[in-house]
């Protein structure tokens, strides 16, 4: 009986949108890696990950989000513990220590942390009495977001750390921070920024400068930005056709199946394809906003809005990077880019939205 009710309440359009994006992603991954013998068949791995992600999402949906909220701090604590573990025992890939090996598989605790952060913040915001954040509450909020963020930045994976910024902004917006606190925070950031700049590694400075001046270093850091723009631009209106993109398939564009997967889509399916992906994202986010509005309580609203902020922010950073509007930092496009843990994480995020949507009528 329970099973039947669950199926009745299933938020099919939202889940369908997520799976459609994942399907587009898998096609693009297959195309991008077709000519690389070492990576051929990677889309099959992504398909397997999608299966695992679907199972995880079912679990997320099946359990009432109030119960998830009960355990939110514990879950967040586990995520933080894993982040500490990754710093201690993690596997280093490309200079970043962000992977934990579990048997034959590896996964990124940082992706899990995004999900638990959203859950923890939503729970925190829903529990308080006052509508506006007090100073102490702001500090508590800062701790919930800041601890995993700093641990991730320490890996150092600035890209993933950066994806916490939209979540933090949303938390502040939804939590109702007083304007004078916002002003104070901005002053602090402005004062600390130069120190932070000095703290950045050279290649990170280069990446930021390349956005300001793309002609800086066409074969170095700027190369990737330039190649990405060439791939996107050469797609023109209708694209070169699936599996016919020259830039991405011939490896002119590095990381074409992960962070730059949207460039593959834009090259092969053109403006129409790129607009289609944007439309699918909009629909998915719109479904999240709908879930927030129709929620039976504030917890559901906060939860949906935070997940929407997370997905929207991460997508914006990635798309901005592909279009050369953002520094080149390793942030995958949710649902679309290759990466198992990331896919599980965002699917679980969608699961939370569907959970809220499915339980909009008080039992």
């Amino acid at each position: 009986m329970l099973r039947r009710r669950l199926l009745d309440r299933l938020d099919v359009p939202t889940i369908a949108a997520a799976f459609a994006l994942a399907a587009v992603g898998m096609t693009a991954i297959a195309s991008a890696t077709a000519e690389q013998s070492a990576r051929a068949g990677l889309w099959k791995a992504q398909l397997a990950w999608l299966g695992i992600a679907a199972l995880a999402a079912v679990v997320v949906i099946a359990v009432d989000y109030h119960i998830w909220a009960e355990f939110s701090l514990s879950l967040h604590g586990v995520a933080v513990a894993l982040l500490i573990a990754v710093l201690l025992f993690g596997k280093e890939v490309g200079g970043n220590r962000s992977w934990l090996a579990v048997g034959p598989a590896t996964f990124q605790p940082s992706e899990l942390a995004k999900w638990t952060t959203c859950l923890a913040i939503a729970t925190f915001l829903a529990k308080r009495v006052h509508d506006r954040l007090r100073f102490v509450q702001a500090l508590q909020l800062g701790a919930i977001i800041g601890v995993p963020m700093l641990l991730i930045a320490k890996q150092p994976d600035f890209g993933t750390a950066l994806t916490f910024v939209p979540i933090a902004l949303a938390a502040v917006l939804l939590g109702g921070l007083r304007w004078r606190v916002v002003a104070l925070a901005m002053c602090v950031v402005a004062i600390l920024a130069p120190f932070g700049w000095r703290h950045l590694k050279d290649y990170q400075k280069e990446r930021i400068l390349t956005v300001v001046d793309p002609g800086r270093d066409p074969s170095g850091i700027g190369y990737q930005v330039r190649q990405s723009k060439i791939a996107v631009g050469s797609g023109q209106l209708t694209g070169k056709g699936l599996f016919k993109g020259t830039q991405t398939r011939l490896n002119f564009l590095p990381a074409q199946h992960t962070d730059f997967v949207l460039a593959v889509i834009a090259e092969e399916l053109g403006f129409i394809g790129a607009a289609g992906v944007l439309a699918m994202f909009y629909y998915l986010l719109y479904r999240g906003l709908l879930a927030a509005r129709s929620s039976q309580d504030k917890l559901g609203t906060y939860l949906s809005l935070l997940v929407v902020s997370w997905l929207a922010g991460q997508a914006a950073i990635n798309i901005g990077m592909v279009l050369g509007l953002m520094p080149t930092i390793g942030v995958p496009l949710p649902f679309v880019s290759y990466g198992g843990t990331a896919l599980i994480s965002v699917m679980c995020g969608v699961g939370l939205i569907a959970n809220v949507r499915g339980r909009r009528f008080v039992n």
Binding site: L174, A231, S234
Partner: protein, 625 residues
């Protein structure tokens, strides 16, 4: 309002606020996505064409298709130079593992030094990895079999096909043909029309260089799709087919050429044989030679050093670039000067007592006791110095200079291979230029017998003697069959030349060059000895140590009555022209007149007569100068 009402109002207000915050988030999402849509529009629709072009340039690369170099044939259609397929052993650097092990196993298997390969592999770092390291060029099939048999030892070693220039006769035709090599910076700079590019194979010397534009052909190209590392990928688009080089037919006769090199043997010297009527060069050789095949593959440092540092300069083409005093061969020209200026007539006689006192200096004849009374015929046949001393004194340097120039001495002949020298023409102006001294009358006396301040190349001498042979036409020597022939009719009386030809025939028949006699074919010629050391005057040149001996000359033509072939031969430190240079000429002429000479094996008696003749006549005759 009671508490509950206030609470509900607050809750209501909170929900209103949360709703407006959600709306704000919605608005931000819509604005950002719309912005992205706008940027996609800008990049893909507005700037789409521009980026499409950039993408094409990104992925298409021109791959050069080298043409096959033209084949060089001799006058009878035999191949002198061609292009043959060759196999290189290469190390594929892409996905290379255990380079050290593979290279060390190669060292033990084929003896290719490990250190050298390691260094070259290191030097290639930074080059695209699809470019393999060439382990050994033009590798033997046996060595390939050795590697193939141990395939599992050499996962990255492969065999690659290339083309190499091949000179089947090796050193026999080296100097005339020249050799090829990779184009250098200077050549690239000179030809700026883009027909040459780095790595192209061009002719470096000889015919290969002179006719490079004929032989080289035209490089083609194809458009190859490449990935970001430049690795060829998928199919290629046709661009332009390479145009192979055209074949080149030479006037060289391989048989004569071989015989000439064989006859020069271990001597340092050179020889040219050519058709006196047309200027077609039949054979041109310089010894010691080199094997042009060593240049086709990149030359190893040791080979190059060995060739460069050899004191006998094997790379020099002595036939066209070395110049020597002509010695007595110059008497041919002196006789023309005498007869043409009217200083002497065929009947003019001089008494030779063995020496003559001119300008208070004693000038010696080579024959002690002298030749007695000689006219120009006898003076030429027996090479009497006294006759020419007096003739030179009478005509003066300016007349000698004029005729020398007319017959091409001190001038470039215009032969179609690079590297020709002018030599030193006998003239007052040249002495002034070289030694900053005026011409003294005494200088003329030495020049009269081909010594002193003049030097000629074998090429100039063969051109000069050809003009005598063909009745007064200066022809341009050439090696390519289709080269434009040039001929200048000289203002020389036929009678004078006929008289000289008559004498030259007697030189071989009864004079200083009897070793060049060729049975029924009458050979005409003149020997010469170019003094190397002053003290060699009056000393028997043949008895001196080799390095101090004079240079031996022999120039001439055959048949004497209707010349078909003219020649000039120099043997450095060869002593007397009649002893060392004349037999070389005879051996080559034997091949040329093969069909008209009695067959040696068929007539042993004649053969015996011939050689006996040569022996006795040389033994009976004192050594001529």
């Amino acid at each position: 309002m009671d508490y509950r009402e206030r609470w509900e109002l607050k809750e209501y207000q909170n929900e209103q606020r949360l709703g407006s915050r959600a709306t704000l988030l919605h608005a931000v999402i819509v604005i950002v996505l719309a912005g992205f849509l706008g940027v996609f529009w800008y990049l893909q629709i507005v700037k789409g064409d521009e980026f499409a072009l950039l993408a094409e340039n990104n992925r298409l690369r021109r791959i050069a298709l080298p043409p096959t170099r033209g084949v060089v044939f001799d006058r009878r259609g035999e191949v002198l130079a061609s292009t043959r397929p060759a196999l290189n052993l290469v190390l594929v650097r892409d996905g290379l593992t255990d380079a050290e092990g593979q290279l060390k196993r190669l060292e033990s298997l084929l003896g290719i030094p490990y250190d050298g390969l390691k260094g070259r592999l290191k030097a290639m770092r930074g080059r695209p990895t699809f470019e393999p390291l060439v382990i050994r060029e033009d590798v033997q099939l046996a060595d390939i079999a050795k590697v193939e048999a141990r395939r599992e030892w050499f996962p990255s070693v492969e065999v690659e096909q290339t083309a190499l220039r091949d000179y089947p006769d090796g050193p026999a035709v080296a100097h005339a043909l020249g050799y090829v090599g990779e184009v250098n910076e200077a050549q690239l700079a000179k030809i700026a029309d883009g027909s040459l590019q780095q790595g192209d194979i061009v002719g470096k010397t000889g015919i290969e260089r002179e006719y490079d534009d004929v032989l080289r052909g035209r490089r083609g190209w194809k458009l190859q799709t490449v990935n970001s590392l430049g690795r060829p990928f998928g199919s290629s688009q046709p661009g332009r087919e390479p145009e192979d080089g055209r074949p080149l037919h030479l006037t060289i006769d391989k048989r004569l050429q071989r015989k000439l090199v064989e006859s020069l043997a271990d001597e340092v010297g050179s020889g040219i044989f050519m058709n006196p009527n047309t200027g077609e060069v039949l054979a041109l050789a310089s010894t010691p030679g080199y094997d042009p095949n060593v240049f086709t593959a990149p030359v190893s440092r040791t080979t190059w050093t060995a060739l460069i540092s050899d004191s006998r300069h094997p790379l020099n083409d002595r036939a066209i670039s070395s110049f020597y005093a002509p010695g007595s061969t110059f008497k041919v020209l002196m006789s023309i000067v005498g007869l043409e200026t009217g200083a002497i007539t065929p009947q003019t006689t001089v008494f030779c007592p063995g020496s003559v006192l001119i300008y208070n200096r004693r000038f010696m004849c080579w024959k002690q006791g002298g030749h007695g009374t000689v006219d120009v015929h006898k003076a030429l046949v027996h090479s009497c110095n006294v006759f020419y001393y007096l003739l030179g004194k009478k005509v003066g340097i300016d007349a000698i200079s004029k005729y020398a120039e007319m017959f091409g001495l001190g001038e470039l002949s215009g032969i179609d291979i690079p590297g020709e020298s002018r030599g030193i023409p006998p003239s007052a102006a040249w002495k002034q230029r070289l030694q900053k001294e005026p011409w003294y009358p005494g200088d003329t006396i030495s020049v009269s017998i081909g010594q002193g301040l003049l030097a000629v190349t074998p090429l100039q001498m063969v051109t000069m003697i050809s003009a005598v042979a063909n009745g007064g036409t200066l022809v341009r020597p050439h090696l390519a069959r289709d080269a434009k022939s040039e001929a200048t009719k000289l203002r020389v009386s036929a009678a004078s030349l006929a008289l000289i030809r008559d004498a030259l025939a007697d030189v071989v028949e009864e004079g200083t060059a009897t070793r060049a006699r060729l049975g029924p074919i009458l050979v005409a010629g003149k020997t010469g000895t170019a003094q190397v050391f002053k003290r060699s005057v009056g000393v028997d040149a043949d008895k001196q140590p080799k390095g101090e001996r004079d240079h031996a000359w022999f120039i001439g033509y055959a048949p004497a009555e209707n010349p078909e072939i003219a020649f000039a031969i120099v043997i450095e430190h060869g002593g007397h022209g009649g002893t060392t240079a004349a037999p070389v000429a005879r051996k080559v002429l034997e091949v040329f007149f093969e069909d008209r000479l009695p067959r040696k094996d068929a007539d042993p008696l004649l053969q015996a007569n011939l050689s006996a003749d040569a022996e006795t006549s040389s033994a009976a005759t004192p050594t001529p100068r």
